[in-house]
């Protein structure tokens, strides 16, 4: 053990030696400081995202400093190699998917076809590349903003023009993070299910149930102070969706019914029932199929002014990821879930209550998915309308795979998908490319992640044994 690690450990030990109240108070103090200065923290986060190359360089600088005391370049080389190995397949998958998406953009254009048809092949291909360039620049700017604009806005702010220009410049990163909020929740939901050996395809329906419940509570109690109303709405959404999801868990535990079938069917049941509720009893204005607006006391507060739409949902999502990680890897329940997920027979033999674990896992998974709907309902739309399902629940499967069912990985993958979604919106308005290209890219990413052999073949990577231990879900239907 090197000296540095020893120091770190002793620091950890010293904190662990504090009495509980002291640890809790200091944690609360830290959270308090973070909340009070949240506006500035978020602004910094957004700028950092927009200027990510600088941040990467800074990170490398920190790494160099750290490596000084740990054995210099060889240590750093190993560290970087390990990270690259972990990221190689996901990153190359995303790259390959973006390239194929690019080809689709290039070769699905009327004008390009016409030009090539007229015999000017070179010109046609050139136009294709021009289209592609325009589209992907718009995608980048929609997702991460324009770095030049951010830098100039910072200088303007230093020059005394206030933070207004910065707010305009970091709109891209903010949109990406806002879009990533439902992704994080839904991805965590599916990942938690994966860990327990359950394939929760029902996230889409659970999102709707949670959204609806939160909105109902949101418009129901006028006069309630925000600090009661908001948590109440959030909890109601999570609870409703959790109970809805746990139906599949109960069915699996009691009868052995395969959760893929039951969650698909529960999805469609919830869609039909929501059609009835939204166009019937809860419809606000005849013919709109939309509920009332929620009261402002149930709004998820925003950090900054327009056009930055970042709301507290993002913080809750990150906290939920931390909580999920803690639950899965540091608690008995999590241990039981992971054991049941790896081998239910062994778990049963070892004295674990498999039935209870299935129900619990589906309850938690449903609750997490519900929070995705809650964050949309209380943070963005402030109501729920017909056609609310935007495919988050299905994309979540990709996220859980991409993040290897690891909360940190899921957050990373969600921010990536959120960025793609935010960028796609801008790409549509600037370059006229339909946002569905993102869906195509996402499905290709799943293919490549799920079949690493394809990616290895394309890039001629060496085989890596560490990835063969994937969970198997398809143990047959029904009985």
């Amino acid at each position: 053990m090197t000296e540095q690690q020893g120091l770190e450990n002793s620091f950890k030990n010293r904190i662990a030696a504090w009495p509980l109240w002291a640890r809790l108070t200091s944690l609360a103090a830290l959270v308090g400081i973070a909340v009070l200065s949240s506006k500035w923290l978020i602004l910094f986060l957004l700028i950092a995202l927009g200027l990510w190359p600088i941040m990467v360089l800074l990170g490398l600088g920190v790494l160099v400093l750290m490596s000084k005391s740990r054995g210099g370049w060889p240590w750093m080389k190993d560290w970087l190699k390990a990270r690259l190995r972990q990221l190689a397949v996901p990153a190359l998958s995303v790259l390959a998917a973006l390239v194929i998406g690019g080809l689709l953009i290039m070769f699905t254009d009327q004008v390009v076809y016409q030009t090539i048809g007229e015999g000017q092949i070179g010109k046609g291909i050139g136009m294709g590349f021009a289209n592609l360039g325009r589209a992907y620049v718009a995608l980048y700017q929609g997702a991460l903003g324009s770095p030049i604009r951010i830098v100039s806005a910072i200088f303007q702010a230093i020059g005394g023009e206030g933070i207004k220009p910065i707010l305009g410049a970091v709109r891209g990163p903010s949109d990406s993070l806002v879009q990533s909020v439902p992704y994080i929740f839904a991805g965590l939901a599916v990942a938690l299910g994966f860990r327990a050996g359950l394939f929760n395809i029902g996230a889409e329906g659970q999102i709707g149930v949670g959204w609806l419940a939160a909105v109902i509570i949101g418009f129901s109690f006028p006069g309630l102070p925000g600090f009661i109303h908001l948590p109440l709405a959030v909890l109601a959404g999570a609870l409703a969706a959790g109970l809805w999801g746990s139906l599949a868990g109960i069915l699996k535990a009691k009868t052995g019914a395969h959760e893929v079938i039951t969650t698909i069917m529960l999805n469609y049941i919830s869609f039909r029932l929501s059609e009835w509720v939204l166009c019937g009893p809860l419809e606000d204005v005849q013919g709109t199929c939309r509920t009332k607006e929620i009261l402002s006391s149930a709004y998820l507060p925003k950090f900054l002014e327009h056009p930055v739409t970042m709301h507290w949902g993002f913080m809750v999502a990150v906290a939920a990821a931390a909580a999920t990680g803690w639950l899965l890897f540091k608690t008995t329940w999590g241990y039981e879930m992971r054991t049941v997920g790896t081998n239910p027979d062994a778990a049963r033999y070892g004295g674990m209550n498999v039935a209870k674990t299935y129900v619990l896992a589906m309850l938690l998974s449903g609750a997490l998915a519900g929070l995705a709907g809650v964050s949309q309902g209380l943070g963005i739309t402030h109501n729920i309308a017909l056609g609310f399902s935007a495919g988050y629940g299905f994309d979540a499967i990709a996220l859980a795979l991409l993040g290897k069912s690891n909360p940190v990985g899921v957050v990373g993958a969600s921010i990536l998908f959120g960025a793609l979604r935010a960028g796609a919106a801008r790409m549509q308005s600037l370059a006229g490319i339909p946002t569905e290209i993102v869906q195509i890219v996402q499905s290709l990413v799943i293919v490549f992640i799920a079949a690493p052999a394809i990616i290895r073949g394309i890039y001629r990577l060496k085989d890596d044994d560490s990835e063969s231990g994937q969970t198997v879900f398809s143990r047959g239907w029904g009985s």
Binding site: K254, A257, I269, R272, F394, I446, A450, S474, G476, G478
Partner: protein, 424 residues
């Protein structure tokens, strides 16, 4: 070793009795409800009249007394089902009771009005068409051992291809052909991913669904709409001379759109191929016990490829139903989850073509009734409310959960489904 998930701690010995008891109880409740509907949901002297387009009035029932009879017989059957001596005709009794319940419901909603029964059966058959075709695709795939939740995606891409190629070739039949081929191509992707690359079959199916939803929309916006090709028109009905003139049966079976005919023919063919030919036997062996099939010289993976791709070809035709039959144009996500109802029909029909067709007809009935109810607005007695038609739309899904959970009768999937096969 059996891989089916066994129900967790349910003692086997008492299960049969409990199951019969539950069914009897359900029939008892349903029969009671029919009696209540008869007593309080109809007026004295009201008649339910079933008609036909050509023949006019076919049957006329006195609503109240018919409902009383149907309800009482149902309750009687509930009792009979518990008698051991009648075990041999148990399923007959069950189907009889189900029929009576549906009939009773029909009589109740038409009480005081008329119902075009031929039209009703026609719309039932039409609604059942994509479900049956999708279910057939699922059966071929799953009987060979590959899980198929990608029916929705295959049908959607088929629906798109039908419109695209019908427009390009200016010929609807080319559209139908292309729909089938593109459905097959999607199935081939599923097959390669799950057989060659051994991707988890549920993940592979999900990929097909997401890809189909995204790609059809993207290509529609980028290619079809700018070129003005997205509405080529509808397939016209085919009328078989003479046979179509038979009253009632004629209009139902012999005057239909090509997809309905394709469905009816394929049900018969697939049922024959799967259960009565050597190839069908080999295919089922690949799903039940691939190792044994391999030992006697069956090419397991080849058989699986063929089954999955043929399934895709059929699902593609099911997709063409949506675009070329119903609307005559392509709309975003126009299959609207019917692929998953097809999956439900497959499970409900116990992985058999005829069974799936029956299940699809039942779901089609729910659909047809639901449309009728939006017109007739029957009022529930006591509660004085309309039954929201969305409730009836959930029926296929609820029935499927009930069947999968094995509350009333259990369906049995192929044993080795979902596992990639590796030669040793």
């Amino acid at each position: 070793m059996s891989v089916q998930a066994q129900p967790i701690d349910t003692p086997k010995t008492t299960e049969i009795n409990r199951k019969d008891l539950i069914i009897a109880l359900l029939f008892l409740i349903a029969g009671g409800l029919i009696l209540v509907l008869g007593g309080f949901g109809t007026q004295t002297g009201e008649r339910s009249i079933f008609t036909d387009n050509i023949l006019g009035e076919l049957f006329s029932f006195a609503s109240r007394s018919t409902l009383y009879t149907a309800g009482s017989v149902c309750i009687l059957i509930a009792g009979l089902r518990l008698i051991r001596a009648l075990d041999s005709i148990k399923s007959l009794l069950t189907w009889g009771a189900v029929f009576l319940l549906l009939f009773g419901f029909l009589v109740w909603i038409t009480s005081g009005t008329r119902l075009n029964i031929t039209g009703m059966i026609q719309s039932m058959l039409t609604a059942a068409t994509p479900l049956t075709l999708g279910a057939l695709a699922g059966i071929l795939c799953e009987r060979a051992g590959i899980i198929n939740i990608a029916i929705e995606g295959m049908m959607l891409s088929g629906a798109f291809a039908a419109v695209a190629f019908a427009g390009v070739f200016d010929n609807l039949w080319m559209g139908l052909l292309a729909a089938s081929l593109v459905g097959g191509a999607m199935a081939a992707v599923h097959a390669v991913l799950s057989i060659k690359y051994k991707v988890d079959q549920i993940i592979s199916g999900t990929v097909i669904n997401i890809l189909a939803a995204g790609a059809t929309r993207f290509l529609n916006l980028r290619l079809l709409e700018p070129a003005g090709l997205s509405s080529p028109g509808q397939l016209s009905a085919i009328r078989i001379p003479l046979l179509a003139d038979i009253p009632i049966v004629g209009p139902i079976f012999f005057e239909n759109s090509p997809t309905v005919f394709a469905m009816l023919i394929l049900v018969v063919i697939i049922n024959y191929v799967v259960f009565f030919t050597p190839w069908g036997l080999r295919m089922r062996a690949c799903g039940e016990h691939p190792r044994a099939a391999d030992t006697v010289g069956v090419h397991v993976n080849l058989t699986r490829y063929v089954s999955v791709i043929v399934g895709g070809l059929i699902a593609g035709i099911g997709g063409a139903y949506f675009s070329l039959d119903v609307v005559g144009a392509f709309e975003d996500n126009m299959t609207r989850g019917q692929g998953f109802v097809a999956l439900a029909a497959m499970i409900f029909g116990n992985w058999s073509p005829i069974g799936a067709f029956m299940a699809a007809l039942l779901f089609g009935f729910a659909d047809a009734i639901q449309v009728k109810m939006q017109i007739l607005h029957p009022v529930l007695p006591f509660l004085n409310v309309f039954i929201p038609h969305e409730f009836l739309q959930t029926a296929p899904y609820i029935l499927t959960i009930v069947v999968v959970a094995g509350v009333v009768g259990r369906s049995r999937p192929p044993a080795e489904e979902g596992k990639p096969y590796e030669k040793q």
